[in-house]
């Protein structure tokens, strides 16, 4: 498969999972803000704010490089290393988030594993019971349950969990 094909499929999977998560928290009236771990070029942030216009979205980013149209205001930006900003968010927001999306993985499998061990427990302390977690990495958190992936998303390509 060409890189163009795999990139299209990855983005379609990402969009389908975000839409499924947004639908769940909307239909089930799960209150709380949205957490976006990794702003990147701001595409999924843009998608989330379009899909969930009434929710606050807090973004975690080491160094902002997105198009200015896709950057949140300072009050909604946790700027810095994720191992420092997640505890900051915990102090400020508590366990209140309805949806968290993490897209911090790279091509480095060892680094991704370290990241997953950091992010999983941190999100368990930030996402409220009934909230939904969408992640590019598999997260092994006690008590979370797997949610079914939307049609067309290959298992393992993206991950959907329910916090309990």
């Amino acid at each position: 498969m060409s890189r163009l094909d795999s990139f299209i499929r990855r983005m379609e999977a990402q969009r389908a999972c975000l839409d499924a998560a947004a639908t769940l928290i909307t239909e089930e009236a799960v209150a709380g803000p949205v957490l976006e771990l990794g702003l990147g070029n701001g595409r999924t942030y843009d998608h989330l704010r379009e899909r969930l216009p009434d929710r606050e979205i807090f973004v975690f980013e080491r160094k902002v490089a997105a198009h200015p149209d896709c950057v949140p205001d300072d009050a909604h930006l946790f700027l810095g290393a994720i191992d420092e900003t997640l505890p900051q968010a915990e102090r400020r927001l508590g366990r209140s988030a309805a949806l968290a999306h993490s897209d911090l993985g790279t091509g480095d499998a060892a680094a991704n594993a370290v990241l997953a061990r950091l992010i999983g427990p941190a999100l368990a302390r930030l996402v409220r019971p009934g909230g939904v977690i969408v992640s590019d990495q598999a997260l092994d958190v006690a008590g979370w349950s797997d949610l079914p992936l939307p049609a067309g998303v290959r298992p393992g390509r993206y991950h959907l969990y329910r916090a309990v």
Binding site: M1, S2, R3, L4, D5, F7, I8, M11, E12, Q14, R15, L18, N41, G42, R43, T44, Y45, D46, H47, E50, R51, H67, C70
Partner: protein
């Protein structure tokens, strides 16, 4: 009285601009794939190389390698932004300004390109009328008879015929042309 039709010229990207950033990207890349796949299928019996005008992230460069593995490929760009795995080999890449590269290629390898893909717009860049007017004439001498040109903008040439939009095109339009066979 002012002619209303002059002031209400339709923006071909109007529907696309209304999408969110993820959906815009998916639409653009899906159209690229549809256009390049259709272009590759039209090259039967036409000898020549593949010219990528604008390498960018290297994704369509990679697709062209999958679609046309037996053809020589050459990429042109100002600088390389593609990740290492998608970077063309040294003899497949020419860096510089198109205003210098295309005339040089027209001199060194006239009529040797069977498929040219022109993707110089990206997502954000505003239409550059001067570039759009200049490019077809600069590209034309490189093309083999019957060559196919796939573009992110409608840049026509008197000796090119517009081909119908291929199946699979999204709200992001792509444009296919064929150079006259004679």
């Amino acid at each position: 009285m002012a002619d209303a039709s002059l002031t209400t010229q339709r923006d071909p990207l109007a529907a696309w601009r209304k999408l969110d950033a993820v959906s815009r990207m998916i639409a653009r890349l899906t159209s690229q794939k549809a256009a390049l796949t259709a272009a590759a299928e039209r090259l039967v019996g036409i000898d020549g190389m593949v010219l990528e005008v604008g390498l960018g992230k290297g994704r369509t460069w990679d697709l062209l390698g999958h679609l046309l593995p037996e053809r020589r490929r050459l990429a042109l760009d100002r600088e390389v932004h593609a990740p290492a795995a998608l970077r063309p080999a040294a003899d497949q890449l020419m860096l510089g300004e198109l205003s210098e590269l295309l005339p040089r290629l027209a001199r060194d390898m006239p009529g040797q390109v069977a498929l040219a893909h022109v993707d110089c717009g990206g997502e954000g860049r505003a239409a550059d009328a001067a570039f759009d007017a200049w490019l077809p004439a600069a590209l034309h001498p490189l093309l083999a008879a019957g060559a196919v040109v796939a573009q992110d903008r409608p840049r026509g040439h008197p000796r090119w015929r517009a081909l119908p939009a291929p199946a699979g095109m999204t709200v992001f339009p792509y444009y296919l042309y064929r150079k006259d066979a004679t």
